[in-house]
């Protein structure tokens, strides 16, 4: 019961960990390269939540001084994750470009079929 309560009160972490593990599983378990990239993207998104979840303070506002508010949220995690999102987009673009190249060269994007075609490895 304690465990369930703990899980409910920290549901952000539960979602984060689920996305993290699910994303990583898709990357490892799928042979289709597009699906691998989707998994990678989910995995990266979980990290965004890892930073942003704890950064939220209920009742707090953006750090602009105002007489109505006394509590302010730290803006740094949001800035960091904006950067991380940009990195993620770059990775995805390059990954998809490589998949296009691989499809041109091999005629397939299934890893097992490619290894079959190439013989070794």
């Amino acid at each position: 019961m304690d465990l369930i309560n703990a899980a409910l009160s920290k549901y952000v972490y539960v979602v984060t960990i689920f996305l993290m593990v699910a994303g990583l599983f898709v990357v490892v378990a799928r042979a289709n390269m597009i699906k691998k990239l989707v998994g990678l993207s989910i995995f990266q998104s979980s990290v965004y939540l890892l930073y942003l979840g704890p950064a939220k303070i209920f009742g707090a506002t953006a750090p602009i001084l105002d007489s109505d508010y006394t509590a302010y949220s730290n803006p740094l995690p949001h800035a960091l994750i904006l950067t991380a999102i940009v990195v993620g987009v770059g990775t995805m673009a390059l990954g998809l470009a490589l998949v296009v190249r691989i499809h041109e060269a091999y005629g397939t994007i299934e890893e097992d079929e490619i290894f079959e075609e190439d013989g070794e490895e």
């Binding site: 390269m33 990266q44 890892l50 740094l76 950067t83 390059l94 490589l98 060269a105 190439d118 490895e121």
Partner: protein, 491 residues
């Protein structure tokens, strides 16, 4: 002049970054190469000035945009990363003249974009090394990694794109693990500045040590993926085999070294790792040293053989880290430099072989020693360096590592270091025997040494590997100073 001197840390990063943007706009290969060469030659001068200042006057702190740490991003240069900055920029400078002919032969004309990507990669590598901010490290790590994937994908073989894709998946998982680890540390300490983080971690109450342990595990696995620690090495042989020769030489000499630096920085300056991690690292290093060397024995593609040899050599470096005494750590840091120089020679020489023969298969290299005497001579010198013959750079590193093992009271370990060198005698010996003592293969008959722009870097690297084996005043004394500071800083 003094105004400029204060801005040197920023210039080291900004110069290659601006040059990359500039080169990306240029269509002519020749102009792109000229800009790249000029920037590559300026960077080691800046790095040398910074290292000198760090040696004489202590750590340099550079505040980006005038925001003081721990709020702003700080570039912090002490002896350790000054040494690594010098290593990366010097390797880049010596190897740069080689690029033009090799790339023209392997990629054909119209490869100007290659230089832009290479400069981005260089920016990223220097950035990871120079910055004192944990998240900034991630950004630079991804700049260099994304550039690396693109460099590898430019290889001619269709497997190059495949190797790059597999590396992209693994590398991104590694970088994400790193960010997860940093996230934990940030939640614990509320700071991203590495020096500040180290202080606050030391002051944490004991009940939070599990979170620190989790962070350590994530960072270790993430960075180990990037530095190809056995058994997380599987991406490396394919990547180096199918990358353009020059890219393989540059990356093998710099990219893994910077990742190792990052691990050293976190283990010794920030986290203060406990005994469990040392034992795990020790076991994996030993496994890498032996298993990768044995795989190298059975390789007939010499580029791939050298890639497996790199994994074994990385094992030596992490072994020295795991010993975490002064001699061991000095050995690890010296081997960063020594391995960069020797493996750089080997890959550059193989690039010259690929240029003349169009192949790096062992049977095609038969009798090549007589046809390309200078190239294969340099290759042989470096091969002895990998084995660790006295008088070469490799010997110095192994001497320190064995001393470190004995000081730690582990005589078996010292024996294993020597034994693993004997395994490298087998694969290097096989290459040397085939190239010098066999009758020439049909391909080797028409071969001759490469043009001067390629031969020069090969010979300079080979000479450096001998010089570093004879005169250790520069390399080993700086490394031992850095080791002293790291061990002193360990909580």
């Amino acid at each position: 002049m003094t105004v400029l001197a204060a801005q040197l840390p920023a210039l080291l990063i900004v110069l290659p970054l601006i040059a990359a943007a500039l080169v990306a706009l240029v269509r002519s290969d020749r102009v792109a190469f000229a800009i790249t060469l000029a920037v590559s030659l300026v960077l080691p001068v800046i790095a040398a000035l910074l290292l000198h200042r760090a040696l004489v006057a202590g750590p340099i702190s550079y505040q980006l945009g005038g925001w003081s740490p721990p709020w702003g991003i700080e570039y912090r240069i002490d002896v350790l990363n000054g040494f690594v900055l010098m290593l990366v920029s010097a390797v880049a400078a010596v190897a740069a003249p080689y690029a033009r002919r090799s790339l023209a032969a392997e990629l054909g004309d119209g490869h100007a974009t290659f230089y832009a990507i290479y400069l981005l990669c260089l920016t990223g590598l220097l950035g990871v090394t120079i910055t004192g901010d944990a998240f900034n490290v991630f950004v630079f790590l991804e700049i260099s990694s994304l550039a690396t994937y693109a460099l590898i994908a430019m290889g001619r073989h269709r497997r190059a794109a495949l190797a790059a894709f597999q590396y992209l998946i693994v590398g991104t998982i590694g970088a994400t693990f790193y960010v997860i680890g940093v996230g934990f540390l940030y939640l614990l300490t509320g700071t991203l500045n590495l020096a500040d983080m180290a202080q606050r971690l030391a002051a944490l109450p004991d009940e939070q040590s599990r979170a620190v342990l989790t962070a350590t595990a994530f960072i270790t696995v993430g960075v180990s993926l990037k530095l190809a620690l056995f058994p997380l090495h599987f991406w490396l042989p394919k990547a180096y085999t199918y990358a353009p020769s020059w890219a393989a030489a540059f990356l093998s000499a710099t990219a893994t070294k910077v990742a190792i630096y990052l691990l050293v920085r976190f283990f010794f300056t920030v986290l203060g790792v406990d005994v469990v991690f040392d034992r795990v690292l020790l076991a994996l290093s030993l496994a890498g040293m032996f298993i990768a060397s044995v795989i190298a024995i059975y390789e007939s593609n010499i580029k791939r053989m050298m890639a497996y040899s790199s994994i074994a050599q990385i094992g030596y470096i992490t072994l020295g880290m795991a010993l975490s005494n002064k001699a061991g750590l000095t050995g690890a840091l010296v081997h960063l430099l020594n391995h960069a120089v020797t493996k750089g020679t080997l890959f550059l020489a193989l690039g010259a072989v690929a240029l003349r023969l169009g192949s790096v298969k062992l049977q095609d290299l038969a009798g090549l020693g007589r046809r390309m005497p200078l190239t294969m001579g340099a290759f042989s010198v470096a091969a002895f360096g990998i084995i660790g013959t006295p008088g070469t750079a490799g010997f110095i590193s192994k001497w320190y590592l064995a001393t470190g093992a004995l000081e730690a009271g582990e005589a078996t370990l010292a024996f294993l270091i020597v034994a693993s060198s004997l395994v490298s005698v087998i694969y290097m010996g096989r290459v040397l025997e085939v190239t010098w003592f066999r009758p020439p293969s049909p391909l080797a008959l028409q071969a001759k040494d490469p043009p001067l722009s390629m031969l020069g870097p090969i010979v300079i690297f080979a000479a450096a590997s001998v010089y570093l084996g004879l005169d250790t005043r520069g390399s080993a004394s700086i490394a031992s100073l850095a080791a002293d500071q790291l061990l002193g800083a360990r909580p």
